[in-house]
Amino acid sequence: MNKKNVSLYEEPRIGVFVCDCGSNIAGHLDCADVAEYAKTLPHVVYTKENLYTCSESGIGEIKKAIQEQNLNRVVVASCSPRTHQPLFSSSCAEAGLNPYLFEMVNIRDQCSWVHMGKRADATQKAKELIRMGVAKSAGLEPQEAIESSLIRRILVIGGGIAGLSAAQALSDMGLEVILVEKTPSLGGLLQQVNRLDTGKTARETLDEIIGDVRSRSNITCHTSATVQETGGYIGNFNVKIDTEKGMLEEMVGCMVVATGAVPLIPEGLFGYNGKTVISLMELEQKLAKNDLSAKRVVFIQCAGARMAGREYCSRICCLIGVKNAMLIKEKYPLTDVRILYRDMQMYGTYKEQMLWDARGKGVRFDVYSPENAPVVADGKVKFFQTITGKTLELDTDLVVLSTPLVPRKDSAALANMMRVPTDQNGFFLEAHAKLRPLDFAADGVFVCGSGRYPATSTEARTQGIGVASRVAAILFKEKLVKSAIVAEINPESCVGCKACLTMCPYEAITYDPGKRICQVNEILCKGCGNCAATCPSHSAQLRGFKPDQLLAQIGAA
């Protein structure tokens, strides 16, 4: 790209483009008058009113004016920079003007649309907003986009179904994977599970995927290994892995947290004793070993979940309870199976169908309320049947407590080391529940599986594959390119007081003890400018929002 080299000492030649946005702006204020006014502003050498500045012809007008009028700043007064700045600044770049010499003024969303029917006032406000934008633009400086290399290797922490799926999908795309598993064997929690809701045994499913992962030349598996240290930034993380063969140091481009969760051991709940009152996981083991002699089985759902201190719903225990109730009924049709529940969480059409199938097989369902929770004692389950208002006593041989998955004890330490957040329950917290469910807020770090929130094996696999696609979107680029709107610290005036370092929410600032100054890591910097507001000597400044630029804008208000 041939960028126009603008010296800071060169007289600004500003072009102002006023957009009508059809009637969206021109319908509520006088755009011609506004454009005429813009001509009178300092350094403005060219103005143009467009019907739609973002249209091909509008963009063409900007490009033409940059060349013919020798503009070195462009101001577009139209809609929001949040939606249209990228388009306009890249158009400037195409015309040879550094894209950071572009400024946008919002006269639609924040003017014409909110002052309808006040034409004179809206026109006046638009003029003032343009005056402010022009004043700021005169002080803008050219910037170069920040580029960084990308290492096409990924660290996956956790060898459960989520991590294995992520590794498999990444390997499919030709990316190199380092898979780190804390225990001696791959497979995670599924190793304790009997049969999946797909009908296959968990072992079959695992053997298939583990065999495949082991056979791939671009996946390195380290079992009985833990990640000891992570540093660096997206594209260039450096990690230390403690393996059986000693400490390994590796460089990776992205990191995936797939550390899973553990089932709650229901100590002290409903008379749990591990023999006649067991957990769901213990039932899985019994079923796997064909070791079930009970003739009357009662499941108690939400055992240790949705209560004070553990408010959340573990989401998958209803499915697991119903699945196992059906397995018992299929194998031992004469066994009496009852499920005591608070709410049935059988989301999705196929799980809903499972619930009906379970009823069809003779599994009985009863609602209980947490205020009148079932009491297990002496081979009986006493519970208040909400529907009839009666207290029933059920004779049982086996009580199964459907317990939630809980976060691993060491996940807080891992979160701390990787600088990623956890939620109030201790699960890893994604950047956005709906818009970025597999990303962490930190760039280049991802999460999948039950470490994020209890997931079925199918969901964990889907998330693993999803993470692989998120990673690929980054690592298949030639290099990392990010906006130059980041902080900079003037090494001449910085006295190394470290005020900025403590303020930076992204740990993007480091102190150089040799030079005794603070320095910004441009890749980690998110451009918030907190350092700039804190710096007593104004050595730290946010590009595009420097004091001179903002003070000029404020002064013109």
Partner: protein, 67 residues
Amino acid sequence: MSQDFNPQILTFACNWCSYAAADLAGVSRFQYPPNMRIIRVMCSGGINPNYILKAFEKGADGVLVSG
């Protein structure tokens, strides 16, 4: 205070929340008095106190920091 007092208000709005909210107010066609000017910043935490003083010095009657 007289009825016709028309305060000039300068707002510093965070690009990621308040500035977006001001856009949304426009998209929703919420109507408000035209005596406010918004300056977009990348984070309300990046506002130097000097900016606020400068606004008052230049005659602003009120400064709103939103983020």
